[in-house]
Amino acid sequence: MKKKKIGTVWLGGCSGCHMSLLDIDERILEVVKLADIVKCPIVDQKEFPQVDVALVEGSVTSDEHLHELLHVRKQATCLVALGDCAVTANVTGMRNYLKKEEVLNYAYVEAASNDKEGKMPQHPALLKLHEKVVPLQEVVHVDYVIPGCPPSADTIFYVLAELLNDRVPNLEQERKLKYG
């Protein structure tokens, strides 16, 4: 069997899901027997390459995330939404009840740590926040989801092992569903 390729990406999330991925510990040796991890947040490569399995952590909060997600969708045979933010918007979606301006203002201008000198960042290279944060499935077709904040290492390993062995994971049957 030809060795598969895995890529992971971190959008609007806290990196907790990637930490949980690292928590599979020595089982990562099982994973690299079946696949190469060709892209992740610590791989120094600009473009997300073509992969068989893409693990996407986090929600879509800005133009940069949207652009990246659309690109990953084109590059990946199987796109997996990793964690509650990717599946439900979760904590990142809590700003959806407020106006974007209110949120930015609170973070950059009104926050006590700004000593009343806070300014709204305006640099053109910065990403532009969307008005609403949405989970992945509202933007692209998602092939598989792993809910959980973060999903447990066991669950992530189970899903990876199934996908890399050309099987379809079934979290419900395995009693591995977890939110929060």
Binding site: N90, G93, Y97, P147, Y179, G180
Partner: protein
């Protein structure tokens, strides 16, 4: 009490007249998903999870408020019902802001358990993200409307068991909200006795005591069921 014959899930049964379909199922070990139902308080058929198919009737009927009738042929586990149960569960999650990661009830929540039971790995409907308030005015308890699923257990336990009538309901559709007295802060209530019955019967983290933090909430909904049963004994 007279018994009548009914068939539930292909099982021929003898059920006492006046029983609801839900009671008949429970007595005979047939599991039915419920959310708004709680032993000891009246049923209203609010959550639509206990819908069953009855032969000869076009629409689905809630098991908790439908009484058994002679020779009924009832089905509780068809693919159609399972499909609707999943949809209903997803709509609970999509309608308000259920963020398990920061919720006091995380790991001890009837809504979470329901999601696992119906195999909900994600919600197929767009989230509404409504602006819902958190009422912290009561000295001991909090009402977080973000996490309320409108099962109305609190409303019913307050009027039927405690007799305080503090909780009520305003508006309809997605604007519907549980209110204290005449839509005033809970802390200003002149009817609330701070008995905590509503807090204990609430299936989610919508009602909780200020003494707990994330994931620490333990509720005792059966406390109300037991209290009602003991009151009926006329000791």
């Amino acid at each position: 009490m007279a018994k009548i014959p009914v068939t539930i899930d292909d099982k021929p049964l003898e059920v006492e007249t006046g029983r609801t379909i839900l009671e008949a199922c429970k007595e005979n070990g047939i599991e039915i998903l419920t959310m708004c139902h709680l032993e000891g308080i009246g049923d209203v058929g609010a959550c639509r999870l206990c819908l069953v198919e009855i032969e000869g009737i076009n629409k689905l009927l809630p098991a908790c408020t439908t009484k058994v009738a002679a020779n009924q042929v009832i089905k509780t586990k068809t693919e159609r019902l399972k499909k609707y149960q999943r949809i209903t569960t997803e709509l609970f999650f999509a309608e308000r802001n259920h963020i398990c990661a920061v919720c006091v009830a995380d790991g001890n929540c009837e809504l979470q358990d329901l999601g696992y039971k119906v195999g909900m790995d994600h919600v197929r409907f767009p989230y509404l993200f409504p602006q819902a308030n958190v009422d912290t005015s009561h000295p001991m308890y909090v009402m977080d409307h973000n996490r309320c699923i409108m099962c109305t257990r609190c409303v019913r336990v307050c009027s039927e068991v405690e007799g305080a009538h503090n909780w009520g309901i305003k508006n309809r559709g997605i604007e519907v909200r549980v209110i204290s007295d005449f839509d005033t802060p809970w802390g200003d209530s002149t009817t609330c006795t701070s008995c905590s019955k509503c807090v204990n019967v609430c299936p989610t983290g919508a009602l909780w005591p200020k003494t707990v933090v994330q994931g620490q909430l333990v509720k005792q909904p059966k406390m109300v069921s037991e209290l009602v049963a003991k009151r009926k004994m006329n000791l």
